[in-house]
Symmetry: C2
């Protein structure tokens, strides 16, 4: 089968206000994200492979092929998907660099997987074999369609990054099987965990075959029509309570809700279905306004990993699963491409820096699954050789019994370049600032190229040096983040322009060597919260550029804890000395007054004595790097009327 030519990128809509670039068009060269992409390739992939092997999740495919999975299969019912996500991450990584060892691993694991695929395309190690439950007998929890989604995305990565191969063919067989079994007149239901929807839409983008998109559209339209059974968590858990077009806000399991919304945008864009797109935009707006943590983290409930009601955002019970952060970035990227509106890149940036970047440790071998905004217990270093409970470790853990996040981060970091810039008929748009070299072709204009250099997010200077220019006018569009009041653009002629949050455009016949400089004001700033977020009342946070800051007890004197601290937001925060985004704020250390009963009569409440102190805050994404510590993002205000 010959596949249409396409770029190496996970998301390639055929239309939209902006069009994406491939990994080969945007290369991270270093800096904050380049370093993380490097660590991902050098450590996280191998680390994940080791744990996946050790956990038996590759052997599961052997067991299924040999008909003994009912006895020998290990791990959660969706363990297949983590193998696929790892393969996807490795395929993207392999596409960016020459690494025969990596190539060999991909091929080896792929070869194991395909042995478990039935002739009709069915592939899941948990169902359908001897002694196992029947195929599709548990659509609520069985995760077969979810796993296909990740298989298909891995197959697409294979095709776009390395050229069509066995993994792509396995994905196509599975997708054909799904269209056959779940198409009109087949099983007219959906899977409990969305994910196949964006995968099938992308497969049409890869192959040009409209059947996959049609099946994705069917799944989108069927959801919310109660084709799944009632479960203890309720139908909102898997978004089967309301049709996508009718819902006003994201609800239920956060990752499920966000993957579904991402798939709905894919279908809406490819079919010019404005009603569907508007529904997702409306849900995104409500979710961002009322159900999102300051970090961009989504999900307030540990029980069912779900969104809370509006303004249920207690920092000490923030769930903010890493995968939900990734899913939110996926959704925002789709909405950015569809509409061109910078608010989507604003949220993606916030989430990338404050959820995704911080979830993986500096070594690339430890992870947060949940991303709490207030760590009340110092906790202990997790055992490097043992799985951790997924959402309860106060420090990053090497692996989890449910370990969806590490491979999800891995595939995201491997393709991060594709989030930075886009093109349209008029030129190039830069959404995120990082050390990167960008080369692309602008329709009707010709090849353009820009090298971007910056110490962002620690410093606010971004230098863009034009490397390729066609000799005719084109437009360079830069996003000015919503927080960046007072940004200044210096154009190629050296003229300075005040620019406002949103986007700013420069149209010119650029010449190679032209330099454009963007100055984003990085002074740290106090941030408050909507009073309806009751758990944040009387508290303030500090942000610096795109980074949310936090206080860790390891930075307090005398073994003090973060619960003894108050901040004084009448004094502006100032930069620390490390050049690492650290920030110093005025505040005080309070004595604690221990009472036998913590609810005194208001008239009898004792005001604790306080000592003035300067507090050193560091980026939230760098938390947990210096041993056990308590931590908080929101700080009680010394005079509550400031908070």
């Amino acid at each position: 089968m010959a596949l249409p030519s396409s770029r190496p990128a996970p998301l390639l809509p055929s239309r939209g206000r902006l069009l994406p670039l491939g990994m080969d068009e945007v290369r991270l060269t270093g800096g904050f994200w380049g370093h993380r992409q490097h660590v991902n390739g050098a450590a996280t992939l191998e680390h994940s492979l080791t744990w996946i092997r050790k956990s038996g999740w590759i052997d599961n495919f052997r067991a299924a092929a040999e008909g003994r999975a009912h006895r020998d299969r290990r791990g959660p019912i969706f363990a297949d998907s983590d193998v696929y996500k790892l393969l996807e991450a490795m395929a993207w990584e392999a596409g960016r660099r020459d690494d025969p060892e990596l190539d060999a691993v991909i091929d080896e694991v792929t070869a194991v997987i395909v042995t478990a695929q039935s002739d009709d395309g069915y592939l899941h190690t948990g169902f359908g074999g001897p002694g196992q439950s029947a195929r599709y007998s548990d659509l609520e929890w069985g995760h077969e369609l979810y796993c296909y989604g990740h298989l298909i995305q891995a197959g697409i990565a294979q095709a776009r990054a390395r050229g069509e191969g066995e993994l792509t063919r396995a994905a196509l067989r599975a997708a054909d099987h799904v269209c056959e079994v779940f198409g009109p007149g087949g099983i007219e239901r959906v899977g409990g965990h969305p994910e196949i929807e964006p995968a099938l839409a992308e497969l049409t983008r890869l192959t040009g075959d409209p059947r996959y998109l049609a099946q994705a559209a069917l799944f989108i339209d069927r959801r919310g029509r109660r084709t799944l059974a009632e479960i203890p968590f309720g139908r909102p858990y898997f978004q089967d309570d309301l049709p996508v077009r009718e819902a006003d806000v994201l609800r239920g399991h956060a990752v499920r809700a966000l993957y579904l919304a991402a798939g709905a945008v894919d279908v809406a864009v490819e079919r010019d279905d404005d009603e569907l797109l508007d529904a997702v935009v409306r849900q995104w707006e409500a979710t961002v306004a009322r159900r999102t943590h300051i970090t961009g983290g989504m999900g307030s409930h540990h029980t069912d990993e779900s969104f809370g009601d509006d303004f249920v955002l207690p920092p000490d019970r923030a769930y903010a699963e890493t995968c939900a952060g990734i899913a939110s970035v996926m959704l925002s990227q789709r909405l950015l491409l569809a509409t061109g509106e910078p608010r989507y890149a604003d949220l993606a940036e916030r989430t990338l820096y404050n959820v995704v970047a911080g979830s993986t440790g500096e070594d690339g071998r430890s992870f947060f699954y949940a991303n709490s905004l207030h760590q009340r217990r110092r906790g202990e270093e997790p055992d490097a050789h043992a799985e951790s409970p997924r959402a309860d470790s106060s420090m990053r853990a090497p692996w989890f019994a449910v370990s969806c996040c590490p491979t999800n981060v891995a595939r995201t970091l491997a393709t991060l370049g594709t989030h930075l810039a886009t093109r349209d008929d008029d030129g190039l748009q830069i959404h995120h600032y990082a050390d990167a070299d960008i080369r692309t072709e602008v329709a009707g204009t010709g090849p353009v190229g820009v090298d971007m250099r910056t110490r962002y997010p620690y410093e606010g200077e971004v230098t863009l040096r034009v490397t390729h220019a066609p000799g005719t006018p084109w437009t360079l569009t830069l996003r000015v983040p919503a927080w960046a009041r007072g940004a200044v653009l210096t154009d190629a002629a050296g003229d300075r322009h005040d620019v406002r949050p949103g986007t700013t455009e420069l149209t010119r016949t650029f010449a190679p060597g032209d330099e454009i400089r963007l100055h984003l004001p990085m002074a740290p700033r106090w941030t408050a919260a909507d009073p309806r977020a009751d758990a944040l009342r009387g508290q303030v946070a500090v942000e610096r550029g795109p980074l949310v800051m936090c206080l860790e007890s390891v930075d307090l004197p005398d073994g003090r804890d973060v619960d003894t601290v108050v901040a004084d937001p009448s004094v502006p925060p100032r930069d620390g000395t490390g050049g690492d985004g650290s920030t110093v704020v005025a505040g005080a250390l309070a004595d604690t007054v221990d009472e036998a009963w913590p609810y005194p009569a208001l008239s009898e409440r004792l005001e604790p004595a306080t000592d003035q102190a300067e507090l050193l805050l560091r980026p939230y994404c760098a938390r947990g790097n210096r041993g056990p510590s308590t931590m908080r993002v929101w700080l009680p205000a010394v005079r509550p009327d400031h908070g």
Copy 2:
């Protein structure tokens, strides 16, 4: 077998600072609790029986007896225990009134249960039968020992309320079996859910046979020694992380932790084990000071129904399971009897009024499983014919898939009189004020009797009329609740005495007809929270006597919601007009300012316009009685420095 004579009461320690009275010695005659006990007997028992039958939980015993439980058993693995708890409640109820129909039901259900008991005493419908997992193959989750605990408590109720019967004999067979199988040299482990510990201790109190107490002590000493497997929630979930004597605070699953602590007190008291008693007192103190909601509700996490870390007390995510409230009352009652300290009755009173009383609806046929302090969604009337998710209904539901709470409340209300008063060598102590007639024998003095009349908790006047007096001096001790500053006691001679929170004693040669009056000041009062309970910062609550008040949206004008309200704690709250504890406070209704992103720069935050308003608060225990409504206990303070 002849059993030692004993009182009709679930808890009869052989020693302790105070000794309990039986249900026949303290009869509720009406008022707040008398009415609830009446509704319990008239509606809740029959309602629970209907649902338990309908759910198949009695048929499970038939299925087990006939060896077909592997196929036909229904409900959660601990469903047996709800049958036992209902039997216990019915037995206590039957002991208080002549009701042949109730007697017949008890005997009928008992007859079904015993058919499933093995000759060696083993009894559980979920294990050990054909096609089922082996006995005790899943001590972590299997709940066999937990179910025995409730069987034994039901058997004790049978013996003490109705006279030894088949249910008592089944309980004794099960207890003997447990001592045999889990005694020294047997399975030296514990069950995942404590409950058998207090049951076995009580069985020694019933029978005089020391083996059961010894087995309870073994279970207490074994826990915390990691005889249970690691589970995803971690070993603290079932308190197997630390030996009881070493722990400093209650942690993990709240009901488990509290039942274990109750059993530990029973063992400590019977064995004069001060070290063990001190350990539980220490844990109780830390838990009350840092892990308890203002209602007395315990448990902050929905995921694992567990205590949160210290000061993790967000009202909108309070779990505060009804069963944890009951377990807390059980623990406090034991500590009160052991030590005589009124602080335990203070917490029991708070919990009885604000968790237990409110969990059952006015009709006795609807229940809260979780007791949130902030209901953000109006929700819908639950379907009267369907089970509800246990912790997610905004209104009381008729039954739950996991329905431990209704029968737990039923057995508590049936025996509530036994919480009101105690005796010691010197006289009578009254801990809770309610319409009740009390008759008992004071050792070395003779028969004493007091009729108590009051509109408490709505009004603060309590009249105690002596009905029986031996003609020699004895002491009447009254608890003055911790909140009751300015209480006045009028003695039998008409003299008024200012009395302080704690206890007050009157020693006298009382004569029948003597009247003592206690006046408790019931003015509503503003209450604050420890600043470390971050989610309560800048907020105030109103309490009136023992009642925590709440605001419901049904009491707001123009369809307003509780999230638009601020309270002004500079104005003292005043009584409403209904005589039902309702309270009026000064405050304001604020406009809401909807922003696209809820975290504005502090300098740009908009202050919403407000309209002054009076707010009508009602007792929290009466919430949810007037249709769908949002609700909050903690109110944002109009000037945050008051909160």
